[in-house]
Chain length 273, copies 2
């Protein structure tokens, strides 16, 4: 009765089967228009298993800022965030966009919880040092406390992450949504088998930039190097893919690059080691 | 070894000693000015045991709305919330005010989590029916799901509640912060011994409205009736106290009415059955 095998059948917490988690990052535009937002939330709710949504909101921030008489200044595609602009992004990302998504998900039975990095101190950053450019209240991520998120996710809570972090000395900081997604995915890989999905304007990484249907279905480090040398992959896609491989090296199971309206078809470019 | 007494020493979950929870509602003004906010958060952090903070934000909402060219319309002290105003209060209450409080608390070691009623579906309301007045997107509370909040509180998370609920069919709704505080306190009384603290502009309920120091230290239902008959308690204080007794009848242990800057001195009017 009391043999060794019986004991071995009871797995330790570390040995238990890891559950899957899908973390999806969507840009601003799709969550800022009621029709596309509704479709996105429906597609998102149909994804099986645990999930997390990371959103942008730049267009709304620019629009609200303009109405308040605050000019949006961008350098290298990044927003300069002075004190007034920080208030705008705190309102728009943390309030308007985040809470509309949360209410929309709750309406279709997804137990969403909207978070900035300050909430539960889940993501701490430091104000970016001033070099040639002073980005203002922009945060570089330093620490992710994924444990409490993992507990909530295990209880079928779906975190909805706004692109805001905090420095734990009282300041909220504007943080790129791609970065939030990558850092959260890496930290949650301690607890789950994570698929990180980046939605952008194309159906995936393209073999021919003039042919929207020429989606590369799978990318490995070798193929990436080959396509880079051949000039097939170039420009802004290179840092995006470098970040993807970095996430894979840090424990994320796979990265998918696709278009938000393709989520339901599970297509796009899958990136694996 | 295996006697009945040993078994009895292990108490059931229902029998365990209930922990104390202090739920504090502060008005808009104190959380909208950096100096008074800092003092408030410091005093709040010094309260022993589990705690919850409920905040307003009306002055900021009115100011931001004005800058956006949206006029604030009040009827019986309540804000008329049309579609544009709903966006403003979602930004200001759910974003700006809530997240600044959360970041401020995290900076002094309080593990704050900012919530609207949509988050975790913790508070569901219904759009107020149109009678003589159409309040617009204003919610009357119908259901509080305190279980998941209680779990988080037991893990030393401190919920920071914005005055917003949702109808679980996709709409956020503007909801009075006093109501949020009362409903949350009643629902959390299933799990904790709750002290509900309402901060307002006086040090407590006054015996003489012209003497700010004439604070009534204890109020019971009998004393309340007596002071009402004598005209000592009148006007807007009557519904406030009626709500307090209603909360006590629904399981809240005590209600305290005080001024925010008196929190550290634990004075004010204590209301008990």
């Amino acid at each position: 009765m009391n043999n060794q095998n019986t004991t071995n059948l009871i797995s330790s917490p570390l040995e238990r089967v890891r559950e899957r988690l899908t973390l999806i990052k969507v840009g601003g535009k799709i969550v800022e228009e009621p029709a596309s937002l509704k479709q996105l939330l429906s597609d998102f709710s149909n994804i099986k298993g645990h999930k997390v949504l990371v959103h942008g909101g730049g267009r709304s921030a620019t629009a609200i800022a303009a109405k308040l008489g605050i000019e949006s200044q961008m350098v290298n595609g990044r927003r300069i965030t002075d004190e007034d602009m920080l208030k705008v992004v705190t309102m728009v990302y943390g309030g308007l966009v985040n809470k509309q998504i949360v209410a929309g998900l709750q309406a279709i039975g997804v137990n969403a919880l909207g978070l900035t990095g300050a909430d539960l101190n889940y993501m701490r950053s430091e104000k970016r040092p001033v070099t040639e450019v002073d980005y203002g209240f922009v945060g570089d991520v330093k620490e992710v406390n994924a444990g409490i998120l993992a507990d909530l996710i295990a209880k079928d809570v779906v975190p909805v992450l706004a692109p805001l972090t905090h420095d734990k000395i009282g300041n909220l900081l504007n943080t790129n949504a791609d970065t939030i997604a990558g850092e959260a995915a890496k930290a949650l890989s301690e607890y789950f088998d994570v698929t990180l999905v980046y939605c952008f304007e194309k159906k995936g990484v393209l073999l021919d930039e003039n042919d929207d249907e020429s989606v590369i279905s799978k990318l490995t480090p070798d193929l990436f190097e080959k396509y880079k040398v051949e000039g097939i992959i170039n420009g802004g896609m290179i840092p995006k893919l470098e970040n993807s491989f970095e996430a894979l090296n840090a424990g994320v199971k796979q990265v998918v690059i696709t278009r938000a309206d393709m989520l339901q078809f599970k297509t796009g470019t899958t990136i694996q080691l």
